[in-house]
């Protein structure tokens, strides 16, 4: 797992490697919560580009982080998500409460409300 802080957006970016099951989700949760506290960030983005497997423990982990950052007025971004992971996000309704984007930049743009509309208008 790798963590980057983008202070300008009060955002931490967590890159997850490998498989997210109940065993691995505990570690992602620990790192994300610790870094949110330590940095004072209120938004969290998860880089799914290197995730090779996810089950419902990942769903639970994302919903948990959603609750944490929502209380701070922040958002959850998931980017570079595989078709298989996206299917689980749809099934569970998680796709309706988080920002899902192809790249981090697009996710941040949507978070800052300069998503599709403005890009199209401008």
């Amino acid at each position: 797992m790798e963590m980057t802080l983008i202070a300008k957006h009060r955002l931490i970016v967590v890159r997850i490697y490998g498989e997210i099951d109940h065993h691995a989700a505990a570690e992602v949760r620990r790192v994300a919560d610790r870094e949110l506290k330590r940095t004072g960030a209120v938004n969290v983005a998860f880089d799914f580009g290197h995730v090779t497997f996810m089950d419902s423990a990942g769903i639970g982990m994302i919903i948990g982080r959603y609750k944490t950052v929502s209380a701070l007025g922040g958002r959850v971004i998931l980017f570079d998500v595989s078709g298989q992971v996206e299917r689980l996000l749809e099934m569970s309704g998680v796709s309706r409460i988080v920002i899902i984007s192809d790249t981090l930049q697009h996710g941040i743009a949507e978070m800052n409300n300069i998503g599709k509309e403005r890009i199209h208008n401008g």
Binding site: E19, D21, H22, H23, A25, A26, R29, F53, M54, D55, S56, A57, I59, G60, M61, I63, G64, K67, Q84, L88, M91, S92
Partner: protein, 142 residues
């Protein structure tokens, strides 16, 4: 070629990966699609995780995984000798979780149901739970 495999392993979270990898390896000779393989891995992972978290509640225990092959139909049986389930219908409802852990999504049984062709759950309080999942792989064009 019809065959059966039976494995016992400790009810410990680092074995979740082991169990789903074994299940996937068992299906490999049938040349499943990437999607079918992923569905098998997720479904088995859900059942095994439940046995660890809910069946044994983190305490020591043994989980049994049986895999059977009949033509292109796979059967996976996951059995624990743990707490058992009081109300199976309720447990199988989407988003229901009997756990006090707020990070359980309650999606496990729904996922097992969606990703296999048949899901049967039998359980006796104080004796344990058996989950049987059947999955028919698509026939190959070539």
């Amino acid at each position: 070629m019809d065959n059966k495999v039976s494995i016992c392993f400790p009810a410990s979270s680092e074995y979740e990966r082991f169990a789903r990898t074994v299940a996937a390896a068992f299906a490999i000779p049938l040349d499943p699609t990437v999607e079918e393989l992923d569905e098998i891995k997720i479904a088995v992972s859900e059942a095994v995780t439940n046995a660890i978290i809910h069946g044994y509640c983190g305490a020591d225990g043994i989980i049994e995984l049986n895999a059977e092959l009949d033509g292109r139909e796979l059967t996976f049986i996951i059995r624990d000798m743990g707490n058992g389930i009081a109300d199976i219908d309720k447990a199988r409802e989407p988003l229901y979780s009997g756990s006090s852990d707020p990070e359980r999504s309650g999606m496990g049984f729904s996922i097992m149901e969606a990703f296999t062709d048949e899901l049967t759950v039998t359980s006796t309080l104080g004796e344990g739970t058996t989950v049987v999942m059947r999955k028919r792989l698509a026939d190959h064009a070539g």
